[in-house]
Amino acid sequence: MTTAEAVAIAMLLDWYEQMAVIRGTEKAAHDLFLRGLVKGTTHLAAGHEAVAVGASAALRPDDYVFATYRGHHHAIARGASPESCLAELMQKSTGLCGAKGGSMHLTRADHGMLGSYAIVGAHLPMANGAAWSAKLRGTTQVAVAFFGDGATNIGAFHEALNLAAVWKLPVVFVCENNKYMEYTPIEAVTSVPNPAADRAAANGMPGVLVDGNDVVAVQHTMSDAVERARSGDGPTVVEALTYRHFGHSRTDPATYRPADEVEAWLARDPLIVARQLLLEIGATQADVDAADARAKAVVDAASQAAQAAPPADPATAFTDVWADGGAAWRT
């Protein structure tokens, strides 16, 4: 084995393990929900792992990421611990956002993961703003916005793409096309076959399709787009084709999806795809098993710790409105 081959294996193993941690965390969240320990709404990203991990691998630590209510994978890929995520879902004081955000608003600002937003499309203009700021401050940071296929039909999407192109901002717009909005197939409500990529040209930028279940493909495509952004050549739309393993949100059994479609996509589970590739390039089954085991250990410990953590303190309902930490609105 050459050094290059060894490095490739190590790198892919690392990505694989990150994906396994995300998958494990999503499964844990689902289990905790079934046990009544997770309330409110959750939108699991199981199936989308390769997008988060592949994209993250193409970014620098100081780059910016903006995600949606389906954002657990992005938070974890950018360094939020599974424990803090699960604690957030379980309304614990150790939650990533102090249990004030919940599943839909995971944020790890000190790692440039600037938030998960629950109004479809709203964060694309924000990503522009972060990219604009980088440009103004003379850094070479890049901003990435992740969003769903459904978000491509909302006005903010169009406004964001146009401004990004006009100002040549270092931003990448990444659509996770999982073929459905909540319960409606995206093709039923969209005027073009590729909801994101087919809109790129209308805003003077390249639009690229990528296999969103292949972490290596995502990393390659994202590297190109990020490089383009970083070197001042402007924004790119990347449309990653993927599929969610669970329903839209915790209450959705997803019966609207044809069984054979589900089956075909489950066969192309990003973890399976990566595992196959690992074995092809020379990793051993033992390597993979060890990664799985490490991931399982992380997730199990995270779940235990999150369960054991104290609940959020009701008094914190009155902190963090203003920069002074408080909530005073009058004299």
Binding site: G95, G101, H105, G155, M181, Y256, P314, T316, A317
Partner: protein, 326 residues
Amino acid sequence: MADLTTYRDAVSEGLARELRRDPTVVLLGEDIGAAGGVFKTTAGLFEEFGAERVWDTPISEQAIVGAAMGAAMTGMRPVAEIMFSDFFACCWDYLANEIPKARYMTGGQVTVPLVVRTANGGGLGFGAQHSQSVENWALTVPGLKIAAPSTPADVVGLMASAVRSDDPVVFFEHKGLFASKGEAAPPGHVVPLGEARVAREGADVTVVALAATVPLALAAADELAGEGIDIEVVDLRCLIPLDMATVLRSLEKTSRLIVVEENPYQGGWGATVASVVADEGFEMLDAPVRRLAGENVPLPFADALEREVIPTVAKLVEAVRRLASY
């Protein structure tokens, strides 16, 4: 005793009745067709009325409400669903600047008979962007009628009035009430817009409530009755038209008034009610006008935190106690 039904089923029942009655009624919104809506409030309608009456849309709140407006101007009676009331912010231009002004600014040339329905309110752990009570947003805009039913029968009765109204109506369905039960609406049930209901008679304190704060006030009433405090609960049902006559009549009897509202205190609808009371009801008042409202903070995710910032029975009981003993 009449049949019981859920508030949730009352929504689809109310819509079904109007769809059957009037062929110009059409529905549009996200996932409202075969999926029956994310809150199942349009369940069965696609099956009964088909794709020509129940239209699935893209995630395009402006296109949804804008299309409803154009259709309403040209002979239809569209009922648009905005999935969560928070998303009014994504089509606010239509609700604030277009729909309520079209008739006026054309000198009466244009009529916009539409309904915009939406799931409003908190208490379910949906967090800052899916839990707001935004009926006060609608109140800031002259030209919209505003309904917010608290019972299944009122859902049907107010829906009938809303759909038949030649004025635009914003219709708030409270998320926290979907699972609640009440008497089913009798056939042909119509509740006029702008008529408050005295949900419980009482002599000591008037409690003005709306939507989810009505059952909350009734629960407080039971608790307070045990202490000998007899409250009258006024269910406003609508914010516009605002039935101040019923409120002032109640005040005449009780001389004490508190408003209980879920939207934030700052800019809440209760302030408008309280300001009318403090003006026209001044001579009747034996005590300060009080408001129990949402706190002036975003809605937190955790239940324990959310309870801190929205009205609860315990908070209302305590507030009424203090007011009664003033």
